[in-house]
């Protein structure tokens, strides 16, 4: 199964960069896994995922849960899509739905969103807070064991 991991977020905004940190570590620790830093990427991520069987998108979320909490949503596995907002235009779930509407043949059959609950998203910092740092570690290991 061809899998692509996409990290979304702003690396300079502390915990907001969790998704991009995951991708950067995967590139170092598991270079055989296709991983892309989409930064604040919007609908462009559709282009990147065309032709893959599975896409795993890692993003930071702010649901009010304990910082470092990891949420997993399998959009194609019957999970209720969460309403994840986005400041950079178009939210992830909308983007993925749009991809399925417009390019049904080319979109990954399996779509998974991994959300890492952020603690601090307003301090300009390239480092995450300790609980989010620990969550990044867990997510990287989880993806490596899932993808192989």
């Amino acid at each position: 199964m061809r899998t692509l991991v996409i990290g979304v977020g702003n690396l300079l905004r502390c915990d907001d960069g969790a998704g991009v940190h995951v991708v950067n570590r995967l590139k170092r620790e598991a270079p055989h896994i296709d991983a892309e830093d989409a930064a604040m990427g919007s609908i462009e991520i559709l282009e990147a995922m065309k032709g893959y069987d599975r896409v795993i998108i890692v993003d930071s979320v702010a649901t009010g849960a304990e910082p470092g909490t990891v949420f997993r949503v399998n959009l194609t596995g019957g999970d209720q899509p969460p309403a994840i907002g986005s400041s950079h235009g178009v939210d992830l779930v909308t983007t993925l739905r749009l991809g399925v509407s417009l390019f049904p043949e080319e979109m990954p059959r399996e779509q998974i969103i991994i959300g890492v609950e952020a603690g601090d998203i307003t301090t300009l910092s390239e480092e995450c807070t300790p609980p989010v740092e620990a969550a990044i570690r867990r997510v990287v290991e989880e993806i490596i064991s899932l993808v192989g």
Binding site: A39, V61, H88, G89, T94, G115, T122
Partner: protein, 485 residues
């Protein structure tokens, strides 16, 4: 006093919170858009190498990277007392036009457009891109994706990754254009001109052909009689990246025109205790609170501000659309907040036409890319971000390290206007404490038109409730919560 809080705002590029204050009769007293704090920007910049600023500032905001990249680059031109080469100026503008193509396209089809194309009274669940595609067809959706990608590819050819441009350097640009790349940009530009015309056609057929929409655009709650600001070329035509800053008054006459290095003589910042963002106003008119009219120094920027502050567009087809817009809406200035959407599409056509002009310019593949720089000092760079005038101001030490950095972003320039627009829309739509979803939609429409982007905000938003309204009594006790999602 009752307080209504809308948090978070849906489909807005950034996380803000709207609070509407009701009086004892349940009518709107005032409305404020709160912008979250960004901590540590000054400290983050201080001591950095000057040439890092065009790389770093796009990443801080993340939403309009090309605008920050070139505001920073132009500030460095000024800091080092160097004028970019002619070829570099053209290449910068070419890349900048590509940015407008993708940014304005996204706003119309995904962010602001749904309100109009699907309809302001349509259920919230339908006022999104899927509702738009239902009206215009799935094939149009593919065209939207394609031309958004074209805009990004144009910026990438010249600047590296669209989200992290790297080409701007003081005195010029680090990378030129070869013939193959030029041809590819020309092809994409041709297609983008047609796409922009098609999009204006959609606006024409769906919005302008519907008298109810035109009446809505011209209705009182959406009028704001402020000054207007934008960058113009020597003919007073709109320019996105180079020129003087022109301000016009409530009758459309020039109030002042100034060079970017003189902005502090004309622009001041006002502070309110309830928000982290400042409010800008015209220094020579003064801050008179949240009021419009000639006595108040509040001005508007962004697509409508630019078109109002100019006397035309520099490309032929966009100029025809410019004239048509003002003729249809009663002459310049047009002060309806909802006219931002139309102005944005006129600019989309201009950006596409200008991209094509520059791609066909015989000098665009020349290799005089950079002039030598002078000694480091102080300087200002101003560009028109898609959302409005963006100012970067740096002071460098003798080693070329940043001593001080100040940014005034587009949303700050429009901040007072946005608050007033929300207040006015709410006044007309919330009476006696009666609030429903449809009314809130109209309030949202009033600020969405500005395409606000909180450069200082996160992209992560609460997961479960895209729209929540909290209503508090005068003792700040929560009376009820209304939400949708």
């Amino acid at each position: 006093m009752k307080t209504i809080t809308i948090d978070p705002i849906t489909r807005l590029e950034g996380h803000g919170k709207i609070e509407i204050f009701l009086n004892d009769r349940g009518d709107v007293e005032n409305a404020y858009l709160q912008i979250p704090e960004l901590r540590g920007f000054e400290r983050f910049c201080e001591g950095r190498r000057a040439e890092d600023m065009p790389i770093i500032t796009p990443r801080i905001c993340g939403v309009c990277p090309v605008a920050h990249h070139f505001a920073a680059t132009k500030a460095l031109d000024a800091c080092y007392g160097v004028e970019p080469t002619e070829t570099a100026k053209k290449l910068r503008e070419l890349m900048y036009s590509g940015y407008y193509i993708y940014d304005h396209t996204l706003h119309f089809y995904f962010l602001g457009g749904p309100d109009f194309v699907v309809g302001p009274d349509a259920p919230a669940a339908e006022r999104n891109i899927f509702g738009v595609l239902k009206r215009v067809g799935l094939d149009v959706g593919k065209e939207v994706i394609k031309h958004r990608a074209y805009g990004q590819r144009i910026t990438e050819i010249l600047g590296g990754k669209a989200t992290h441009p790297t080409c701007g350097v003081p005195g010029g640009i680090s990378k030129g254009l070869n013939e193959e790349e030029r041809q590819s940009i020309e092809d994409m530009a041709r297609s983008s001109v047609e796409f922009a015309k098609f999009t204006l056609g959609v606006f024409n057929d769906i919005v302008l052909a519907n008298q109810n929409y035109v009446d809505l655009i011209l209705s009182d709650p959406f009028q704001l009689d402020t000054y207007n600001m934008g960058t113009v070329d020597k003919d007073n035509h709109v320019n996105f990246i180079d020129g003087d800053i022109r301000v016009t008054d409530q009758s459309g006459k020039e109030f002042v025109k100034f060079g970017e290095q003189e902005y502090l003589d004309h622009v001041c910042e006002h502070v309110e205790p309830w928000t982290y963002s400042k409010f800008t106003y015209l220094k020579n008119v003064g801050w008179k609170g949240f009021a419009d009219g000639p006595e108040s120094g509040i001005y508007r920027v962004g697509p409508l501000g630019r078109l109002n502050a100019a006397e035309g567009m520099a490309t032929p087809q966009a100029n025809e659309e410019y004239k048509r817009m003002f003729k249809t809406l009663g002459g310049r200035p047009v002060q309806s907040t909802l006219a931002f959407h139309w102005a944005r599409l006129v600019e989309l056509l201009y950006a596409a036409e200008r991209t094509l002009e520059l791609a066909k310019d015989p000098g665009i593949t020349d290799t005089d890319l950079r002039n030598p720089v002078g000694e480091p000092g102080e300087g200002v760079g101003i560009v028109e971000a898609a959302r409005g005038t963006l100012i970067h101001h740096y002071k460098l030490d003798k080693d070329g390290l940043v001593k001080k950095a100040n940014l005034i972003v587009a949303t700050t320039n429009n901040y007072a206007d946005i608050c007033m627009s929300i207040r006015d829309a709410a006044k007309g739509l919330i009476k006696g404490g009666e609030v429903n979803d449809g009314l809130l939609n109209m309030v949202e429409m009033s600020f969405r038109a500005y395409d606000p982007c909180f450069g200082c905000s996160t992209h992560a938003l609460p997961g479960q409730t895209p729209l929540r309204v909290n209503i508090y009594d005068s003792g700040k006790r929560l009376l009820r919560t209304v939400q949708r999602g």
